[in-house]
């Protein structure tokens, strides 16, 4: 019974409510880092990791600190500081443990702090009421992980298209940002098709 619920959450965050293409969260890194497939993959994996971790930690902070002291109105400050410190910690940990991974992900990590999808998933976890539910922690993890995978998927698709656009003959005024936005719009239109899927 629960398994089905988790699969629904996972699919809905990856495809139906894709954070980038249907909720327009995390657009800055989506357009900024999607020029090359390698860097898109690096950014995507870093985001999956930070989002999952941030979801877990903000869950505990909200449930065991903000609610008991009834200071839930401080969640924006608390969450953004938690995310900023997670990013910093992850950066230091990766640097010590695996320098090769650090070289691959390193430059993307500081950018993740201002990725609004990360704060977005933390706030949405609270807003969707996972805190009070049974298996709330697992749902939070699944949603955080799914949001990250959805981000990676959108980034990979976009970078694949943009690598081909490099050699395409595009009208001068449309080059760069305008054509990227129109492509993103078409991708997002394609993702609308998933909205018809139901479980």
């Amino acid at each position: 019974m629960e398994i089905k619920l988790f699969i629904t959450i996972l699919f809905s965050t990856i495809f139906i409510n894709n954070y980038v293409l249907s909720q327009t969260l995390g657009i800055c890194p989506f357009l900024g880092v999607s020029k090359k497939t390698d860097s898109a993959a690096g950014m995507g994996f870093a985001v999956i990791f930070v989002m999952t971790l941030a979801s877990v930690i903000t869950y505990f902070i909200y449930k065991y600190i903000l609610i008991p002291f009834s200071i839930t109105y401080l969640r924006t400050i608390a969450f953004i500081l938690v995310i900023a410190s997670i990013v910093q910690l992850v950066e230091m940990a990766i640097n010590k443990l695996s320098p090769s991974l650090y070289r691959a992900l390193g430059i993307f990590l500081p950018l993740i702090t201002t990725n609004c999808a990360v704060l977005g998933v933390a706030v949405l976890n609270v807003d969707s009421g996972f805190i009070t539910k049974e298996f709330g922690l697992l749902m939070t993890i699944v949603q955080g992980f799914g949001a990250g995978v959805g981000f990676l998927l959108a980034l990979m698709l976009m970078s694949g298209i943009r690598e081909r656009l490099e050699t395409a003959d595009i009208p001068f005024n449309l080059r760069g940002m305008p054509i990227s936005f129109i492509i993103a719009g078409l991708l997002s239109l394609a993702f609308l098709g998933f909205a018809g899927m139901s479980f």
Binding site: S188, L189, L192
Partner: protein
């Protein structure tokens, strides 16, 4: 003379959304109606002005290696003020902007201006810079929202425009936002290029 220059640069020459390509997430997400766009502009300009003032006041006391966390905390505090105020006095606006009110924290425009301008300049000129940038951001949002509301919902400020006209629902959701902004950037490029030719 310089005051006028600092104010106007945010509107055209360094417009955050159209030229610098930052603050895109709220620009795409909240522009389903003109009134939402205007409220977003008020909220963002308020946070931007307050954070610029505070940052330029305390800039000499912050050690440079911890300045980013300090800036983020300052911004988050003002965002919380906006969040609580809107929740109390404008509950409808609070619900329709939803998650994008806490997400003002990660709007790169605000951190960008704190880092690039307010931490290097005096209080008064920082206020002018914040107002220019905030209004420039809001202006873009309003234009985008005008097209999306009229075409996507056949309404303006909630009033029906042409009775019996069936609106294009696509404009009201994510794909419409991406494509409209792409076309706006194209039009802007076009105007800029033809201006250069005239000179």
């Amino acid at each position: 003379m310089s005051i006028k220059k600092e104010f106007l640069k945010g509107l055209v020459e360094k417009n955050p959304v159209m030229v610098l390509g930052i603050g895109l997430c709220p620009a795409l997400a909240v522009t389903t109606s003109v009134s939402n766009a205007l409220w977003m502009m008020i909220a963002t300009t308020f946070v931007l002005t307050c954070s610029n003032v505070l940052v330029s006041l305390v800039k000499d006391y912050i050690p440079s290696h911890i300045r980013i966390p300090v800036f983020i905390t300052i911004i988050a505090a003002f965002v919380t003020v906006v969040e609580i105020t809107l929740k109390a006095y404008q509950p409808e606006v609070y619900t329709s902007l939803g998650i994008f009110i806490p997400l003002i924290v990660v709007n790169c425009i605000i951190l960008g201006r704190a880092e690039e301008f307010a931490s290097r300049n005096g209080v008064f000129i920082s206020i002018i810079d914040a107002l220019g940038m905030g209004i420039g951001f809001g202006l873009t949002l309003t234009i985008l929202a005008f097209f999306r509301e009229t075409l996507g919902a056949n309404k303006l400020f909630g009033y029906t425009l042409i009775p019996g006209f069936k609106p294009a629902g696509m404009m009201a959701i994510a794909p419409g936002a991406f494509i409209t902004l792409g076309l706006m950037l194209w039009a802007m490029n076009r105007i800029m290029v033809s201006r250069k030719h005239k000179k």
